[in-house]
Symmetry: C2
Subunit: 145 residues, 2 copies
Amino acid sequence: MMFSKACEYAIRAAIFLSANSGDGVLVGISDISSEIGAPKHFTAKILQVLTRKRLVSSQKGVNGGFYLDAVQKGRPVIDIVIAIDGDNIFKGCGLGLRECSEKEPCPLHHKFLAVRSGLTQLLTESTIGSLAHSLESGSSFLKKS
Amino acid sequence: MMFSKACEYAIRAAIFLSANSGDGVLVGISDISSEIGAPKHFTAKILQVLTRKRLVSSQKGVNGGFYLDAVQKGRPVIDIVIAIDGDNIFKGCGLGLRECSEKEPCPLHHKFLAVRSGLTQLLTESTIGSLAHSLESGSSFLKKS
DNA sequence: ATACTTAAAGACCTTTTTATCCTTTAACGA
DNA sequence: TCGTTAAAGGATAAAAAGGTCTTTAAGTAT
Ligand code: FES
Ligand code: FES
């Protein structure tokens, strides 16, 4: 698909954390993985990466877990995507040419730009927190019921 | 990226064939792969699939090779994508939920629809032949120079 | 202090994708 | 009809993605 599996899980985990954690309210890896319907250990590995990149906060020890602070909830989703999948989907050529450029464009280049910038815009203007709102109001979901 | 490597090669091969073959004018696998900058044997595999699905024509034996007839040149690029990668990118959930639906949408669903339908439209309205034109006129390319 | 809980880290395994090679089959020309 | 040629197809290999498990160490409560 569009994003790697790891990236899909990352976005879902981040949105879930935004809706269910905060300063002083932590969530453990078992809860996160089961609530977003993702493999536990794999999710842990992904959260490690996000934590190292400061997109997610964590606390070890008793009653430890993961959480998002106010700043992190305000981050655009594109930050998560780039942290996990890199920026190739936003900058690379859709037909796999070594680089996407105006000077030597592939046959799809011009039409592609519109779609790609639409995607970029969507992920830039959507913050993790804003997406979490629809989750909290029950109008969106993170796993099949 | 957006498409699998196999799919990228498939699209490039199809566009190249549209520009460089026709009834009576065949192109061999070595030419195709070198002109689109793709691994030879892998390209052969992919063309086998496209041939079996009648998106590409082939001729065995002496002076054999691959070609596209008029009808095949008129096919939309989306046919190639679906033949190789399936329709998940057009119908599946962007966050990897088991299914994309209005009833149980993921938090990105609504914004995603626009991007996805933009992509679908782009690939549906672009025929292989039409993309080949920009190649023939030298205003687009299929590999890094 | 220490015992316990939990995230961090990393080794390991499985599956899928990407890529190569080699044998078989079919078409065609001489 | 024989030999050449090129696609078809199967089998294999390497690499990347996806997923699991075990060990380590940080922090907390007691
Ligand atoms: S060159 Fe292919 S998308 Fe820009
Ligand atoms: S449910 Fe996620 S894109 Fe439609």
